[in-house]
């Protein structure tokens, strides 16, 4: 318990001092995306890594949050601080309603159903042109403001996004190590045994699906208010798959793993930019190698790798 808290405090401190270490404006912008993607990966991980239920449509919930916030503020002039929770509640209720029938499905069938859900939302963002602006996007979304400070620079946005990301992390860490988190993992390992012990697996799955959608919606709203412009291209099927990759590469069932996966997959394309046309090949190969040699994800693989290197080093001295 104490160790968990210490780890979280150290991580938070690192996040807070990071802007002092890297002062480049562009890198700040990338780190803002790492924060948003961390929230999204955590949201999906709660569903996939803890409850064992897949979703290939999470980019849709992310987009829905972004569009609801964007439309309410840019078109109807609603205060962003009101638009965000409104969007989250709408998305949560919607996910709960859809979740009841959809979460009866298991495995591949659930994957297909959520895939369809994501595609439907993507089509809606594209086709409801009067509301969303269609493929050319929605612009003029206001920045968030608090006590006279407008979040309009990369550094300010960094602190805003990471403040919320840290809150989401703490929330999820607490949840994972609680009565509800254990019930989720129990459903994952043996649904029938969990039910026999009194866990209402169906209701729990719907609850976590809705919570996961709410966190994704929140990330979407923050994305809309920091970018001030959104278009459907950011919320398509490809991004749902990218989120899934972050969760798996980072480590299923680990909150810090979701951060590692999100950080790697967000930073890697930037690092590989120098490799010109070969970047996609290197990116793909790296993912394959990591899944092969770190099946438990980065969060479990890195310590093992580290220990191996240390042991090898000691062996050389002897």
């Amino acid at each position: 318990m104490k160790r968990d808290l210490l780890l979280f405090i150290s991580f938070s401190l690192l996040v807070m001092v990071a802007p002092q270490l890297f002062s480049g404006g562009y890198l700040m912008n990338v780190l803002v995306f790492v924060g948003i993607n961390t929230m999204l990966a955590i949201a999906l991980n709660l569903l996939l890594g803890y409850a064992g239920q897949i979703s290939l449509g999470h980019a849709g919930f992310f987009g829905l949050g972004a569009y609801l916030s964007g439309i309410l503020t840019a078109t109807y002039g609603v205060n962003p601080w009101i638009a965000m929770p409104v969007a989250a509640v709408v998305v949560g209720c919607l996910a709960g309603l859809i979740g009841f029938p959809i979460l009866k499905l298991k495995g591949h069938y659930l994957a297909m159903a959520t895939l369809g859900l994501g595609i439907i939302m993507y089509i809606v963002f594209n086709e409801t042109v009067e509301l969303t602006g269609g493929p050319s996007g929605l612009s003029g979304i206001p920045n968030l403001k608090i006590a006279g400070v407008t979040f309009d620079s990369d550094v300010k946005n960094y602190y805003l996004i990471w403040g919320v990301t840290l809150a989401v992390m703490l929330f999820s860490l607490n949840l994972a190590n609680s009565r509800v988190g254990r019930a989720l993992r129990a459903v994952h390992d043996s649904e029938v045994a969990a039910q026999v012990l009194g866990v209402n697996a169906r209701l729990l799955k719907v609850q976590i699906f809705a919570l996961s959608a709410v966190i994704s919606s929140l990330a979407g709203s923050l994305y809309a208010h920091t970018m001030t412009f959104i278009s459907p291209a950011s919320f398509g099927f490809n991004f749902s798959i990218e989120l899934l990759t972050m969760v798996v590469i980072g480590g299923l069932g680990s909150i810090y793993g979701s951060f590692l996966g999100a950080a790697l997959l967000t930073l890697l394309p930037e690092i590989l930019r120098g490799a010109n046309d070969y970047d996609i090949i290197i990116y793909g190969s790296l993912l394959i190698v990591m899944v092969m040699y770190m099946p438990g994800g980065l969060v479990r693989g890195i310590p093992i790798l580290f220990r191996k290197i240390v042991r090898k080093g000691e062996g050389d001295h002897a």
Partner: protein, 251 residues
Amino acid sequence: MLEVSGITQIFGGVTALDAVSFSMSKGDITGVIGPNGAGKTTLFNIITGIYHQTAGSVLLEGKDVSGFPPERLARLAMVRTFQNIELFGGMTVLENVMVGMHTGSSAGLLACALKTPWSISEERRIRNGARKWLEFAGIIDLADHTAGSLPFGKGRLLEIARALAVEPRIILMDEPAAGLNSQETVALAQLIKRIRALGITVVLVEHDMELVMDICDRIVVLNLGRKLAEGTPREIQGSPEVIAAYLGDDD
């Protein structure tokens, strides 16, 4: 305590159970025995809400609970274990038993995630309760091990400890001695007797006759989906029909 009346189960064209009726008294250890294919496990799955019977009803303390899902039966203090143990393999031994305290606790998703003072104190109560049941089952030294890494015999004890954490009034065990060596079986017999001493009604399906005859107060014999006999261990041992069903009929 528990009564089944006229339970019939038809799978496709096969009648797995044919109008089976009997009752189990409070505080007893009741054994359900019979040759392979007699319908014992099917009967267990019906009683515990995993299958839905074609006809007949299940009464728990006089209340008709036919068709209740398992999680509702757990709230009514009925719990079961499985023939090929169903542990939460990725969780620790202690956490497994803590899941057993699910019905006895109530912190919701938000209370857990926001760590309200009340949910923290409940968490402490869950942890202590779970440790108590691990001590009862004699596996407290394994508390921090991963459940998936336990040897089979210890896994069986864990599954029983986890079921007891529900604080059941009735526990159904599907072949608890299957896969255990003779020492482990003796220890299991002691454990089941200690469970009865807590006032918990025990029902078990079992093939190990020595165990059944040693610990059961009453025995129900099933054969080919029908109830063949019912009585004390002594009566069952002397019953010609039972002997015929097990050893084959000469004439």
